[in-house]
């Protein structure tokens, strides 16, 4: 489990970007979606999440704005930029290649 978590953590940026590809969203909802998609196996903490947002903002991949909820709670929404979309696609391609390589590497050695 811990090894899996480490591998996933290396893809935090891509995971967030993939979430924002669907729609603008705020931190907690994104985290909830991650938890849901991973069947409750994986969840980011606030610190990791916030660091990732900050990093992506600085590299111009996402922008943010304060939402105007009626409930009174102010939420910061994140929105993906064209650059973010480009990065997401690169990351996705990278992962596909990596995945296939790892698959090959692990599978060729496994039958023996």
């Amino acid at each position: 489990m811990s090894i899996t978590a480490d591998i996933i953590r290396g893809h935090t940026d891509a995971i967030i970007l993939s979430n924002l590809m669907k729609k603008d969203n705020y931190g907690y909802e994104i985290n909830k979606a991650i938890k849901r998609s991973s069947d409750g196996e994986y969840e980011l903490n606030e610190a990791t999440l916030y660091t990732a947002f900050k990093r992506l903002q600085e590299s111009g991949c996402i922008t943010c704005y304060w939402g105007s909820e009626n409930t009174g709670a102010r939420r910061k929404y994140y929105s993906i930029t064209p650059q973010g979309i480009k990065l997401y696609k690169e990351k996705l391609e990278d992962w596909k290649i990596t995945k296939s390589i790892i698959n090959k590497l692990l599978e060729t050695e496994d039958p023996e």
Partner: protein, 451 residues
């Protein structure tokens, strides 16, 4: 319970710098955590469980929050001034710590040794400590000391040049010396008061003489033949008299410290007497007071002494009934000299402010003084006299039958005489004019009376 979450997050951000970035982050994290908490409650968790889980999901924010650190920007001059100031303060403090033992040393064996001395020591230590604390409190922040800003860019501060280091060190040494002197002088003054003003020396006194180890310590009786006496006495009194005994007797009364006792030695018929142990002394000290020297010389020796010389600083010299076939010499700084019924072929007197009173038989007299007065009561034997003075007066008493020639060379001194002179050039001649008196002065008067 949501208040508890808010409070928890407030605490995390308590030390954070107040800036839009941190405020936004706080707002966002608070909202996310509250959302999570509410969701957990909705899932059926107890408030306590939900709180614990929500808080746990925050993670470590230490690295993300902008800390309340002020960035220091100082100019090169400010950084260098700070260094210099701190170096001086530190040096002075260390110097003070070292000097703090001075009062106990200097005031040892005085009434202050258990009161003022330790008090001064602790005062000096307190000042040194205060300086060190002051230095620490007024220094530039540690991270600012090695970085300076030039045109908005932070660069490492320049290292101190060797010259600067040397200058600062020199400055500190000189400062320390001045401080040391001030302390020493104030202690000296204290001690002067303490000793009733009876201070003989402060600083270095060199009082060394040759063959010091051959000298006897303290009073003594000498039965050997003596033809010459040489006395070196600093303070107190020197008395040299002839008496009916057989031995030369030397006495100085009670002296407690052996170092302070007189020293005497006889070599080749010469008796030498010294004030105290030979050596160089450093520091602050008072001389033993009232050291009165009595040298009693048997009559047969007193009448045939070849030479007697006395040298003093402030001691009074009294000589009576001593006849020197050659020279009688007295040299003093401020001591009074009274020579009664003495004779010598040559009389030699030299003083700064000491007075001379002489009566007796001399062939030739050579006397000089700066401000001392000299009174000479002479006999027919006088052949020549040479006198020099600045403001000291010279009084001569000459037997009526003795003719003499006076040459008085003075700036403002007056000549007063009962003798009827014959003026010839610069000379005043009385009687046959045989004896030659050569008197020089700046403002000192010359008085010649006949008896």
């Amino acid at each position: 319970m949501s208040d508890r979450i808010k409070k928890y997050i407030d605490e995390i951000f308590a030390k954070a710098e107040s800036c839009p970035e941190n405020d936004d982050m706080k707002q966002e994290i608070l909202q996310n955590t509250l959302d999570k908490y509410n969701d957990l409650l909705a899932e059926g968790k107890t408030p306590e469980e939900a709180y614990t889980a929500a808080i746990a999901s925050i993670g470590k924010l230490d690295g993300i929050i902008k800390k309340n650190t002020v960035t220091y920007t100082y100019t090169k001059e400010e950084v260098l001034r700070d260094r210099k100031k701190s170096a001086i303060l530190l040096s002075v403090s260390v110097a003070l710590y070292i000097l703090s033992i001075l009062p106990p040393i200097l005031l040892d064996n005085t009434v202050f040794s258990e009161t003022l001395a330790p008090a001064l020591m602790f005062v000096i230590i307190a000042i040194a400590t205060a300086l060190i604390i002051y230095r620490a409190k007024t220094r530039l922040p540690k991270n600012a000391r090695n970085t300076i800003v030039i045109n908005g860019t932070a660069v490492p501060a320049p290292k101190m040049s060797t010259l600067e280091k040397v200058l600062i060190t020199l400055g500190c040494v000189i400062g320390g010396l001045i401080l040391c002197t001030v302390i020493a002088v104030s202690l000296f003054m204290t001690r002067v008061v303490n000793d009733g003003g009876n201070i003989a020396g402060f600083g270095i006194i060199t009082d060394t003489y040759e063959n010091a180890n051959e000298y006897n310590v303290g009073d003594g009786e000498i039965s050997e033949a003596i033809s010459e006496i040489d006395i070196d006495w600093t303070d107190g009194e020197v008395n040299i008299v002839s008496y009916g005994g057989d031995t030369v007797s030397i006495q100085e009364g009670q002296v407690s410290d052996e170092d302070d006792m007189l020293r005497y030695r006889v070599a080749n018929g010469k008796l030498s007497i010294k004030y105290r142990k030979s050596g160089t002394r450093f520091g602050l000290f008072s001389e033993p007071t009232n050291k009165t020297l009595f040298v009693k010389v048997p009559e047969n020796i007193a009448k045939n002494l070849a030479k007697l010389s006395v040298e003093t600083v402030s001691a009074q010299t009294n000589i009576a009934g001593i006849y020197c076939t050659n020279e009688l010499s007295v040299e003093t700084t401020s001591g009074k000299c009274i020579l009664t019924d003495c004779s010598a072929s040559d009389l030699d007197f030299d003083s700064v402010s000491g007075n001379l009173s002489f009566n007796g038989d001399v062939l030739s007299a050579d006397v000089s003084t700066t401000s001392g007065d000299m009174v000479l009561d002479l006999t027919e034997s006088i052949r020549e006299l040479s006198s020099e003075s600045v403001s000291g007066n010279l009084s001569l008493t000459i037997p009526q039958g003795r003719g003499f020639t006076v040459e008085f060379d003075t700036v403002s001194g007056d000549l007063d005489s009962t003798a009827a002179f014959v003026q010839k050039n610069k000379h005043r001649i009385y009687g046959d004019g045989t004896a030659k008196f050569d008197v020089e002065s700046v403002s000192g008067d010359l008085n010649i009376s006949l008896k």
